[in-house]
Symmetry: C2
């Protein structure tokens, strides 16, 4: 494979410099017509094939934005990526995507790899394990802008584009209360993640606003996969507490919880009502359909991407960082329709 | 932000070369102990902070595999990526993902960008518009291996990891025939894509094997989004042909087709039975649940990734390219249960 003639072979055969050959093949004005002809004739004689790829490589300006998300398979993240791409593509930027699969070790490797690949900026939504921020704080000393979207770390100086999770949690809980529910449980995610902390705070605020007492035993935390929701529901029912509703911090765990509830022939929503969070496509299709909080992934992605392009193009990172909050809204479906 | 002292400030203050300062800070043996001490003292005096990031960049070996898919939001592709990552990660490789969104122009830009980012290998499933292969054939002259998975281009020399789409199409049609269906329509994708051509061929082969006549008017091609299935079903019914089943080349179009069928109060599966292709998660959840062909995305990804690592590590690309076919299997659900 490496027996193909190179520009060095042409240079050697003609007793001239490789850079002259390269210039001639690129039709540079710095080489005379006569020399060009001589070089082209020799190139043809030796069967030289121009490596278009290498030539493209040299010309190519990367113009790439790196995106790191926990999982591309989640509807919210694939929508956010769609929003990022739409905006970036119009500005002439490619988007490369990596998933941490909720693991800090992977996230570190990915961030290191993307920087080595010389992306122009980094948009990240951190993993559930990201409680150590060293790999992200390191970017402060670089000229590569970093912006968090959805799941962020509380590092001063970086900008964030976030869902108003507090309001989402508040609305979900308020909705259940308006349906007459008085014993509302909450399935939460890791409290180290701001988004789950804020949804939880919204839940507590709505209870308080309605003079309902918050009780710790009504809260179960997990990693919020479907199976976690199933297990959390079993744990919750085993407590033998009065319970008429569950607000789950995501749709998947709500689906798992409803599965267990249906298996026990407990009526949804009459005996126990459910509200999820995220509006995954499956939430409108399952039986009963799931009331949920819609968060526009596409809009978040679009805004985060616009902010990123601004930072890349002006080469200005705001000293203090800015935080943009995106509104949510509740979609009422059958899991809470009383 | 840019007032921080750099190695150039240290060099200037000491009247020595920046490269010597850099070497000293990297503890190079090429700088004497005395000079190192002098430089470190000056660095401290000026409040110099080493840019760990830049230093990491220099040391970092990329070890990256680029993956290009039409859409990350499709279950099949996100599963395939999962399979690719699992294998690549264990071998110490990062995976960066790009989506073409079914557009040839984007695919070209993405491939160019990934090569400029110097990935070690490229795994690609092409867009519906990819009928011109120039951007991929260019890789032949490079030493960056390219492997197709699922949707491939027929370019000699590259390897492919493919679903046995012919068998999948055959099994889907045979299943409907075994249920007593005799007038089976087919919703197909762009025929320039091998996968849809092969599913179509499988459909025709099963009809033939059962002495059923193939009729062109029973076939409608589209881009197979949910909306396309809805419209194709309307077109099909407008033809006033006898019809008792539809084999759709993907699940989304089957879901759209069933939606229209249900709106017209036509009984599924009694009047018209449906079979899809891909086993998207939603296909088990909709009413009635959809019979479909399961293609293990994870397995395809894993095998494609293993083949890629072999080519990267041995630096050997098989001259002729090899094609690995992955088996499919039918999952019977209510849309065809008679």
């Amino acid at each position: 494979m490496n027996n193909k003639p190179t520009i060095h072979d042409i240079a050697k055969a003609l007793g001239i410099d490789s850079s002259t050959v390269s210039r001639a093949l690129n039709d540079s004005p710095r080489v005379t017509r006569a020399t060009k002809d001589k070089i082209l004739a020799k190139a043809e004689e030796l069967g030289y094939q121009r490596n278009m790829l290498a030539s493209n490589l040299r010309k190519n300006i990367t113009n790439t934005i790196g995106v790191v998300v926990p999982r591309i398979s989640r509807h919210f993240f694939s929508s956010a990526i769609q929003g990022i791409e739409e905006t970036a593509y119009l500005a002439g930027y490619n988007v490369i995507i990596c998933q941490s699969l909720e693991q800090l070790e992977r996230e570190k490797k990915i961030v290191g790899g993307l920087l080595a690949n010389r992306v122009d900026g980094l948009l990240i939504s951190v993993s559930m394990e990201t409680m150590n921020y060293d790999h992200l704080e390191a970017l402060k000393n670089s000229n590569i802008p970093l912006i968090f979207f959805d799941r962020h770390c509380d590092i001063p100086g970086f900008s964030n584009v976030l869902i108003d999770d507090f309001k989402g949690g508040y609305d979900a809980t308020q909705h259940l209360i308006s349906k007459g529910c008085k014993h509302i449980a909450h399935f939460s995610g890791p409290q180290e993640l701001e988004i789950y902390k804020n949804r939880f705070e919204g839940y507590k605020a709505a209870l308080k606003r309605n003079n309902l007492t918050f009780k710790e035993e009504y809260v179960i935390s997990s990693r919020l996969m479907e199976q976690d929701g199933y297990i959390s529901m079993r744990k919750l029912l085993a407590k033998k507490l009065p319970i008429d509703a569950v607000f789950c911090a995501n749709d998947l765990s709500a689906i798992g919880a409803m599965k267990h509830t249906k298996e026990l022939q407990i009526k949804i929503p009459d005996a126990i009502a459910f509200v999820g969070f995220s509006n995954e496509p499956v939430s409108s299709v399952i039986e009963p359909s799931l009331t949920t909080i819609d968060q526009s992934g596409f809009e978040i992605g679009k805004i985060a991407s616009e902010l990123m392009l601004k930072q890349i193009l002006t080469k200005e990172t705001p000293q203090k960082g800015q935080t943009i909050l995106i509104d949510t809204h509740l979609i009422e479906r059958n899991s809470s329709k009383k």
